[in-house]
């Protein structure tokens, strides 16, 4: 399987392990994106001026590349949403676990119906941005997070697990399965096909970030009307959501059994929303919102 990396990565220890499952072709940073002919896999100290500089460089092109970009450890802990040019927050946190849960979204990785993996993980992602495909078992924070700001964007996949590592803390079979699963998914990702297949039929143009914001507001602030959702999204997250998008999101809430439609109103299923937002790694936001709203109410 052919992949692209930067020439700065050629002599890294991780490359030795990567070569066992793929054929990396190393490109000078100036050759990106024109020279890219396979997924771009970034790991180790891939940018000479450090991770933050690297992210800023990546933000301008990651979502327009012809192939997905995979970002593997190490990460700098803290907020990365802004560096990546995202509208919503995305945070990198330190975790220490080797117990990962595989969510149904990770079906594309062909993990032989495994629901749990033992792969040592040092970083996890939180915030309304992205779609969690694997989570840390204890914290439920996203460990593999798919960022795709628009349906037309090329995905950027963040993975906080040590995929290119010889650590005995990982089960080697699980590590290899996840590594190969991610690389194969990225290599076979096709922009045109994805655009047709990926969007749920009920909400063909809803961005993941918007969807997450609506979920947080529904679960945390019990926002169930269109106007309430738009105004809270603006005041709390600084995000402008169109009327059409909120309607699509509300349709999806109903479609996912996270709410029921009674006449024109939405009756939220808070218990289901709690579980769903926890699974997406959004629980911290929901909880914070709830606390704020409870304080205001008392």
């Amino acid at each position: 399987m052919r992949i692209n990396c930067l020439s700065t990565q050629e002599d890294l220890f991780e490359t030795r392990l990567l070569r066992r499952v793929s054929q990396p072709v190393f490109l000078a940073i100036e050759a990106i994106p024109s020279g890219l002919d396979a997924p771009l896999v970034l790991y180790g100290n891939w940018h000479l001026q450090g991770f933050a500089h690297g992210l800023r460089w990546l933000s301008g092109l990651a979502f327009h590349l012809p192939h997905p970009c995979l970002l593997l450890p190490p990460f700098d802990v803290g907020s990365v949403g802004e560096s990546l040019g995202l509208m919503t927050a995305l945070n990198v946190q330190n975790v220490n676990t080797n117990h990962l849960l595989v969510l149904p979204e990770a079906e594309a990785f062909n993990l032989a119906e495994k629901t749990e993996l033992q792969v040592q993980t040092d970083y996890a992602f939180s915030g309304p941005t992205g779609k969690a495909w694997l989570t840390a078992a204890e914290t439920k924070l996203a460990v593999v997070d798919l960022i795709q700001p628009k349906n037309t964007s090329t995905p950027l996949l963040l993975c906080g697990a040590r995929l290119l590592s010889a650590s005995g803390l990982s089960n080697n079979d699980d590590r290899l399965a996840l590594l190969v699963g991610i690389l194969t998914w990225a290599a076979s990702w096709n922009k045109t096909v994805d655009q047709i297949i990926d969007p749920p039929s009920k909400s063909p143009k809803l961005d993941e970030a918007t969807w997450h914001v609506v979920c947080i507001l529904a679960a945390g602030a019990r926002a169930s009307t269109v106007n309430e959702t738009i105004s809270l999204a603006r005041s709390l997250f600084g995000v402008e959501i169109s009327l059409g998008d909120v309607q699509l999101a509300h349709d999806r809430l109903v479609g996912y059994d996270l709410a029921q439609r009674i006449d024109e109103n939405l009756l939220l299923n808070l218990a289901a929303l709690e579980t769903y937002t926890q699974r997406l790694g959004l629980w911290a936001y929901v909880r914070a919102l709830r606390r704020d709203f409870e304080r205001m109410g008392s």
Binding site: F13, L17, R20, P73, P74, A166, S167, G168
Partner: protein, 435 residues
């Protein structure tokens, strides 16, 4: 003399207790001059004439004692301590002095701070010398039995301690390296000293000493060396596994792919330990230096090394697989036909034919066993055919098998063959009473 001694002593403590020194210099020296003046005034006021005159009026006596007491109190505040009794404390007394500092006399304050400074510098020097030698020694563990081993878990912490202990308390440039995080005493020693928390500063110093000690229960060196020893075991295990794996590979070099399927799982396991030992552990730890400062990196090393113990027994498993493959190949020798031949050879007084040992590769072994089977067949045929015998080699093998398995029943058409085989000494008849 005292007036000259005090400023000298105060200047001595300026490097470690700058605020205290300034405080003493500014207020207490002038106060001492005042106290001295007041004491002189009191001395002048004292009247002893009533004692000499024998008129011991209680009022005069009370006034004299009172003035004497005030005089003594004033003098105590400014009088140097007895030079014949060296000022010495135990570490436990630091708290007493810290708590009662404000109430202490000028001289007690000065002597206490000088004592603390001297003790600190003495211990600081010892600590720095221990740190230096441990850092040197740690560098010699970068390779253990030819395999890279991470020394950062100990050197990072030692350097943090070194950085804290050797940095000047005031002035100079502090590096941005930071200092070792100890939950009970989170500030640097110098910071504790600057805010007059001598007990906490001292406790932190003792804590750092216990980390640097090579024998204390919290010794970093002991923790590090324990990991070195465990790592040696892992490297040994790997070297045995490598030897077994090389033997297996050498043997299987000419084997068909379908014969290698059993090697796949062990191969992955072997590759994992090979990566782990050949730079993997070092890489794991190096990549965690930024995210796991201080003692966390030592915890990470311990976790990684412990996890590496799972490869124990891999060499045995590989050798076992090779043995299984060899045993499997041995099944290719037609054992029953060899036994049938050897039965004939024994009866004719000839030496038995022995199966060959396995060869050095899979295919060579198969070739040897198949060649041997052909020899057995040829020799077997030679024993019967061309010698005007009724029984041929194939029939003998059949009869031998049946007898061996206890399934032989004499058929009339084999009667002549059995007689012949008895004559050849291969079979014997038993006669018994019919019941």
């Amino acid at each position: 003399m005292a007036a000259n001694q005090a400023p000298t002593l105060i200047r001595e403590i300026q490097d470690i207790f700058p605020s205290r020194a300034t405080e003493l210099e500014k207020s207490y020296l002038s106060m001492a001059a005042n106290h001295l003046k007041q004491a002189e005034g009191l001395a002048e006021q004292m009247q002893y004439s009533f004692i000499e005159s024998g008129d011991l009026s209680p009022e005069a006596m009370i006034a004299l004692v009172k003035t004497l007491y005030e005089f003594e109190q004033l003098v105590k505040k400014i009088c140097p301590l007895d030079p014949n009794r060296p000022f010495s404390l135990t570490p436990e007394q630091i708290k007493t002095y810290q708590d009662s500092y404000a109430q202490r006399s000028l001289w007690e304050k000065v002597h206490f701070l000088i004592w603390l400074r001297t003790q600190y510098i003495e211990r600081q020097n010892q600590l720095l010398s221990d740190l230096e030698s441990q850092l040197d020694e740690a560098a010699s563990y970068k390779q253990i039995q030819g395999k890279p081993f991470p020394t950062a878990p100990i050197t990072q912490v030692l350097r943090l301690i070194q950085n804290e202990v050797q940095a000047p308390v005031t002035g100079g440039t502090q590096t941005s390296m930071g200092w070792l995080q100890i939950p009970e005493y989170p500030q640097k020693i110098s910071q504790y000293f600057l805010v007059n928390q001598y007990v906490d500063g001292w406790k932190r110093l003792e804590k750092l000493e216990s980390f640097v000690s090579k024998t204390s229960p919290s010794s970093l060196w002991l923790r590090f060396i324990r990991q070195v020893d465990l790592w040696k075991n892992i490297v040994n295990q790997y070297q045995q596994a490598k030897q077994a794996w090389d033997q297996l590979n050498d043997f299987m070099q000419d084997a068909p792919e379908n014969a290698k399927t059993g090697m796949s799982d062990l191969g992955k396991e072997y590759q994992a330990v090979e990566d782990f030992v050949n730079g993997g552990l070092e890489h794991e730890i190096q990549s965690q230096i930024a995210s796991k400062p201080g003692l966390q990196l030592m915890n990470a090393l311990e976790a990684e090394v412990k996890a590496g113990e799972k490869y124990q027994g891999l060499a045995g498993q590989i050798s076992q697989l090779l043995e299984q493959i060899r045993q499997g190949l041995r099944q290719k020798i037609n054992a029953k036909r060899l036994e049938a031949l050897n039965h004939v050879l024994r009866a004719t007084g000839k030496p038995e034919k022995l199966a060959p040992q396995g060869k050095s590769t899979y295919q060579q072994t198969i070739d040897a066993y198949e060649g041997f089977n052909t020899e057995v067949e040829q020799q077997g045929k030679n024993m019967f055919e061309g010698q005007k015998k009724l029984t041929n080699w194939e029939l003998w093998v059949q009869i031998y098998r049946m007898l061996d398995e206890g399934k032989f029943t004499l058929k009339p058409e084999h009667d002549a063959n059995v007689n012949e085989l008895v004559q050849m000494g291969l079979l014997e008849r038993k006669i018994s009473l019919k019941r």
